[in-house]
Subunit: 237 residues, 2 copies
């Protein structure tokens, strides 16, 4: 017996098989591969499962398993998703799920902590799906402290959160802090982002400050790790 697990050996063999295939190519079925390799379907599934998590394959129940495409690179500087996505050359869009004007209560402990808000303080919460070229890339929840009259209509009109804050409400974000960590997809992400249960996501949270160092934005996004790449460029002081 080899030193490596079988499923990992097959993973590498499948990787070779698909290396030169164009994106979207159908590969043999799990049952076929199991027969070819002389192993069980369970083992093949584990191998394919990792390749799916890495974005090299995609599975569709009832249809088959296909090769995947290249990653989309996302440069995030002092701009927003909408603003900088356009500059890179893919078409960004958003689907608004929910806009609410809220007041801090017991169920907003996390938000309140990040924005330094006392119980009862007003804030706006926006939940959106982020799309690139029509494909869902991530799920983003943005919170802005304060009471913003007519925010709903303004945002739907402009499309860009940052532009709306700047143009319509005079809120200027001059410094941001981005945090990135890994996260595994749960039911909500599966449903909205069309990823597999348990596939790794990038959890990106952003805190935006104004000139006075006050927190004027707090956003959490869960982006597909296999379709997304976070880039930050930093200059010397």
């Amino acid at each position: 017996m080899s030193e490596l697990p079988k499923y990992y050996v097959y993973k590498m063999r499948i990787l070779e098989m698909i290396a030169d295939l164009p994106p979207g190519t159908l590969i043999p079925t799990e049952r076929t591969l199991a027969l070819d390799f002389g192993t069980s379907r369970t083992t093949v599934r584990k191998a394919i499962g990792e390749l799916v998590a890495e974005g090299k394959l995609t599975r569709t129940q009832g249809s088959g398993t296909y090769t995947g495409g290249p990653k989309i690179t996302h440069v995030r500087q002092l701009t927003s998703f909408t603003e900088d996505a356009q500059a890179i050359g893919y078409t960004p869009s958003s689907e608004i799920l929910e806009i609410e004007q809220l007041r801090v209560d017991g169920s907003h402990a996390v938000e309140a902590a990040h924005m330094h808000l006392a119980p009862g303080a007003p804030f706006v919460r926006v939940r959106r799906i982020r799309l690139g070229n029509g494909e869902p890339l991530g799920l983003e929840t943005a919170c802005i402290p304060g009471e913003l009259a007519g925010f709903d209509e303004r945002l739907r009109e402009r499309g860009s959160l940052y532009a709306t804050l700047r143009e319509d409400f005079g809120i200027r974000i001059t410094e941001v802090e981005d945090g990135v960590e890994t996260y595994l997809a749960g039911p909500e992400e599966v449903r909205l982002l069309k990823v597999e249960m348990g596939s790794p996501l990038l959890r990106i949270d952003r805190t935006g400050f104004d000139d006075d160092g006050k927190v004027v934005e707090w956003t959490v996004g869960r982006f597909c790790g296999d379709r997304f790449r976070f880039v930050a460029r930093t200059r010397a002081a």
Copy 2:
């Protein structure tokens, strides 16, 4: 039957079980949990597997499954691992695996592309394990274009790559671009970082530029997604 997969239901039940437990607490065995839940061990393993990938549990063969600790946050500005890690309050260290003075050949296609080097051009490659408080956090491979005489000794002496480049070789990095994406652990990461096969990692690549915009550093790191959090802070122009 519920709409959610069983393994996901059990994952949540286990999550509740361990919510209030201190880090390092032993939880029941997989076989016990399978009996308690009235399900198979395979299903319990899948549930536990995801919790492990998220860093909430750790498994040790022959010993048992234990609750995990909180994440370490890593702020990365225009500094290096060594330099900024100290500021946060945990003890960073490195274990040098390999230092080589190389020349670009066919096996260095990726490195050559990122550093804009022609075949035959010299560069130094350093492979290190990054530790925080003695625990392995990541695996980093740094490449620096050029022929750096006595680099090996200087680096081992100083410990910090950036300090060595700056103090001993007059190389100043004034701008960096960091990229972050997800990655799954393979055999090498399993061996060196003590993570599970297939667990999600943060793959962080950094390109460093000097005043002239020339690439003077290219680094790739694979950091434990469950122990690591990447933070970038950006100011307005």
